[in-house]
Each structure stands twice: as C-alpha cells, then as structure tokens.
C-alpha cells in the first residue's frame, strides 16, 4: 500500500468538509471531489512549546509554489514545499521529518491541502479569530472559487468478458 495516496480519506477524517458523492447501485460507482488549481502559502507559528497554529494563508497562482512556513517561538523559520508536506503527512516516522514531527506538521500539510481543495480548517487551528477570519476571506474564497470538481469513475470496463481469452 502506497500511503501517499491516502490523502483523500485522511482529509475526510480531518473533517474538512470536502464533498463526496456516491451514486446508487447498478450504475458505475463514482466519487466527486475537489482538486486544487491554485497554490497556497501557509504560515504556521509556535504559540507555546510544541503547539503550532496557522498565522496566515495566502493564495498563489501556481500549485507548485505552495509552501508551509514554520516559525518557532525563537523566530527561526523552516520552509517546506508541497511535496515535502505530502511526504511528511504520509510518513510520520521518517527521520527527515523532524521539524514536521515535532510540530505535527503533517497535520498542517493536511490542512493546507484541504484548504487548497476548497475546504476550511476549524477556527481552533488558527492563532486567533482575526487570523481565522482573514484566511477565510482571502484564501478560503479564492480556493473555493478556483477548485475544480473531478469525478473518478470506477471502471467496470470489460465487465462480463471474463469467460473468454483475449490472448492471441
């Protein structure tokens, strides 16, 4: 099992309000969800020892430009790319994940990706209500309007052909 592809269930379990539809039986099974078309720079600050909160979320045009900036109480900053965030989110035991692990950054990776897909973290994830409201008005609106619905179709292609060989 390649865990990095379990992002959607993880996001769902994080309660980020993504939309998931399933159609009835007898039809091809489909799921519809949001995928990002914009990037996001999330700044996370250490508000007390090992307790980190979101200070700001700023949309950027390219997904690849997404970053998580982590600032500890001493003012030291670490910057992580989206790929690093995904990796850390899916592999909390990695030795290279020290800054993430100590700060539970994997969780912030989930939150960032959730925001990019049009979801919204709870207010308790932010340093204060002002940060929560500001993020909702900027990144939240932008991401909601730009995220794109994608449908995955459960194939069923070739169903009912199992009795004959297609070898040549």
């Amino acid at each position: 099992m390649l865990r990095k592809h379990l992002l959607l269930p993880a996001l769902l379990s994080a309660g980020l309000g993504l939309t998931l539809f399933s159609c009835g039986s007898g039809e091809p099974e489909t799921e519809t969800w949001e995928v990002p078309t914009q990037g996001l720079i999330t700044t996370v600050k250490e508000v007390s020892t090992d307790d980190y909160k979101i200070a700001s979320e700023e949309p950027v045009s390219q997904i690849a430009d997404s970053r998580i900036i982590v600032e500890d109480m001493a003012g030291m900053r670490d910057t992580f790319t989206l790929d690093q965030a995904k990796l850390m989110a899916s592999d909390s035991t990695s030795a290279s994940s020290r800054p993430f692990r100590s700060a539970r950054m994997g969780f912030f990776g989930y939150l960032m990706l959730g925001r990019m897909m049009g979801g919204g973290p709870r207010s308790s994830a932010y340093v204060n209500n002002n940060a929560y409201n500001r993020a909702g008005n900027t990144a939240g609106n932008s991401m909601r309007s730009s995220s794109r619905k994608v449908t995955r179709t459960k194939s069923g292609f070739g169903a009912g052909k199992s009795t004959r060989s297609f070898g040549g």
């Binding site: 099992m1 390649l2 990095k4 592809h5 379990l6 959607l8 269930p9 769902l12 995928v35 994608v150 449908t151 995955r152 179709t153 459960k154 194939s155 069923g156 292609f157 070739g158 169903a159 052909k161 199992s162 009795t163 004959r164 060989s165 297609f166 070898g167 040549g168």
Partner: protein
C-alpha cells in the same frame, strides 16, 4: 515430418499443481499438450528466428509509415478518435515494446516460412513456452529449441524500467484463466526486473480517472496508485468496444501519468490490414504472403486464400476459400462484424495424422524463443495443441586438411 516427432513424456499432475498450471492439463484442456515432441533441424530453428527478426523490421517500418497516412489508418481499423494516441505513441514510445509473437506457416519439411500474423499486444502461450515446454524437453532428455524468452523479457524490462518509483504496476486482464496465467508470467518478469510491486488485476476492478491515474481500492477508502499498466486486453477492444476507456488511457499516457505495455502503436501491428501494406511496401518479399482487401486483388485467388477479420483472435471468423468460391473451412466467433483481409493461402507442414504445424517466434523485441501449435484441421484455432520443441544436436565433425 513424421521422423521429427517423438513421444512426449507426460508431466505429473502434481508438477502442474506445484507450478499453479493445472489449468493447462486438466478438464477440457486435458489433451491440450501434444503427446509428441517436434524436433527441429538446427537450420529450421535458425531460419525461424531470423524470420522473426526480419518480419519485425518489415512490419515496424510499415507501421511507422502508415501511422501518418489517413487512408491507411482507415483501412487498418484505427478509429479517428484513437489516432492522436497512436501517433503520439509512435513518436514518443516507439522503443517501449515488451513482447509479441509471430505465427508462421511452413518452416518445416523444406516448406518456405510465410508470415501469417503478429500477436502484438496480447501474445499468449507464455506459461506453455516459459514453464511447460522446458520441463517436457528436460524430461525427454532432448536439446531444447531456442527459448530465452524469460531472460530476454527480463533484460528488456530492465532496459525499459518500471516507471515512477512511488507507484505500483498493474498487470490487467479481463478475467479468463488463460489470460491470468499469461499475466502471471509478465508479473514474474516485472518483479525480476525490479520494477516494483506488480499486481495481477482485473481490468473491471480498476478505477481509471483521466486526470488522476489508475487506482485500485485495496480497502474501503484506501487506494493503490498504478503508474504503469501491463495490458493483457487488446487495444482494439478499448478503441472499438470501450472508447471511454481508450480516452481515459490516452489522456493519462499523453500527460505521461501512465505508461502502458505494449504501447498504443502496437495496435497498428495487431491489425491484420497491416499485412496488406507490408506486402505493398515490400512486393515479392519471400516472408510476406500477398494480402489484399479484396480477393480479386490477390495474384492467384484461384489458388486459395484465407479471409481473416482485421481484428480477429484465436482463429475465429476465418474462412478458407479454394477455387475462388469453395469455402473448405470456416470458424465461428466474435469478430465477424468488422472488416476483413484476404491472404494468399500458405502451405503448412503436415504429419501422418493430418496435423498442421504452426511455428511461432517470440519477439522481445528481438526473436528470443520458438514455440509451436498443431491441429488436425485446416484452421489452427483455440482447439490446437501445444507442441514442445526440441532441436537436433548439431554434429561436430573433424576435418583434416592435408
């Protein structure tokens, strides 16, 4: 011919069980493995292997030329919607070829080798050739005919590489037991070539999303991502019967989110209409039988011809016509609705029991193995027997020069 045949040892049921290949020796397949071995003369084996390599070059050259000729694509049976991927595939993955198999008439008893067809994207007989044939020949104490299929496939797979390291490999088929066993061989090859996790999967079970990729829901809500697809279902099946599947695969492949073996350009080689153009491009070539879209265009229609569906399989929907009007043999099947080609009838070697023998070469992509089927009928189809191949030991002589 008959003096080249010898009794084949019967392999034990327990051996088949141990190999997981009981399917090929029990039930309705109890008589599938011939009770005789065919021992080739060394020069016959060499000629067949050379013919495989030569036919490969001929057909590939014609396929490449035809890929950008709309009138040829029409008659090759490549739907308009499928052409962008086929042409992209020619230009971008021309050397990504895993395995195929040529079938030949002749090549025995002094009969000339003649190309019958190429199985370009779902070449079967893999378990028989890689596992069963070597064991029969070993038990018989004979010298095996050329058979480096597994080693060559593994080397080819290593050269091609398995694709993205963060995804797995799906070896997909439509569910028949035979196809699944063939897929098992390809899984074994991919694993030996260190491609990574490779699963034998059913196509209908895969989630294919044109934006995201190919997935399998291993557990509720837990998806395995496949970045490479070893395909044991025909490209023409996707293009003609499941165009949405073709579209999805095309989007993924052209966005380089998915690699498929064999690639989409092999649909050109799978089309028997390519034999018309190969002959047209190489008139008079000894390997290529005159083939046409109308029997009247054959040089000797009264000498007999074979009508074949452009996208047929397993010897289905074949007709053999003699004297321009007498249908002397025909088979039913699922491929009767499409277009046909007409191929000049070729001579097959025949034994005392009227079995016709069809030699085949595996291409990966060079000729790397021989196998053979026979049938006591004019058309070799799903009822044919698999004949294990040996080769006569070459005599080592000493000559003294004075």
């Amino acid at each position: 011919m008959d003096n080249l045949l010898s009794d084949a040892p019967r392999l034990k049921d327990s051996w088949f069980r141990k190999q997981g290949l009981s399917y090929y020796a029990t039930g309705e397949n109890e008589d599938y493995l011939a009770d005789e071995i065919l021992t080739l003369r060394p020069e016959e084996a060499t000629a067949a292997m050379r013919a495989g390599d030569e036919a490969w070059d001929l057909l590939r050259a014609t396929a490449r030329r035809s890929a950008f000729m709309p009138e040829r694509l029409d008659r090759l049976g490549i739907p308009e919607e499928a052409r962008p991927l086929v042409q992209w595939s020619v230009e971008n993955e021309w050397d990504n070829f895993l395995v195929g198999r040529f079938d030949f008439a002749g090549g025995l008893d002094g009969l000339p080798l003649r190309l019958i067809e190429f199985n370009a994207d779902t070449a079967s007989l893999l378990p028989e050739t890689t596992v069963i044939q070597p064991e029969i020949i070993r038990k018989a104490g004979l010298t095996a005919a050329p058979n480096d299929l597994l080693a060559t496939l593994e080397a080819t797979a290593r050269r091609l590489g398995g694709g993205r390291k963060d995804t797995a490999i799906a070896a997909a088929h439509l569910g028949s037991e035979d196809d699944s066993h063939n897929v098992d061989v390809l899984v074994k090859v991919a694993t030996a070539a260190k491609w990574g996790r490779t699963d034998n999967v059913l196509l209908p079970e895969l989630d294919i999303n044109p934006d995201e990729g190919v997935f399998y829901e291993a557990e509720p809500g837990r998806f395995l991502h496949y970045g490479t697809l070893i395909k044991f279902f025909p490209w023409d099946f996707a293009a003609v019967e499941e165009p949405e599947l073709w579209d999805y695969l095309a989007e993924l492949i052209m966005a380089r989110k998915l690699r498929v073996f064999n690639p989409a350009w092999t649909m050109l080689l799978q089309s028997k209409a390519l034999l018309v153009y190969a002959h047209e491009d190489n008139p008079g070539h000894p390997l290529l039988l005159p083939t046409a879209f109308d029997p009247a265009d054959l040089p000797d229609p009264l000498g007999g011809y074979v009508r074949k569906p452009v996208f047929g399989r397993m010897g289905e929907n074949i007709e053999i016509v003699m004297n321009g009007r007498n249908v002397v043999a025909e088979t039913k099947g699922d491929y009767g609705d499409g277009a046909y080609v007409y191929q000049q009838r070729a001579d097959f070697a025949k034994d005392r029991d009227d079995h016709l023998y069809q030699l085949s070469t595996y291409q990966a992509p060079t000729a790397c193995a021989l196998c053979c089927r026979r049938q006591d009928d004019l058309i070799i189809d799903d009822d044919g027997e698999f004949v294990a191949l040996a080769v006569k030991k070459e005599k080592v002589g000493f000559r003294f020069f004075g």
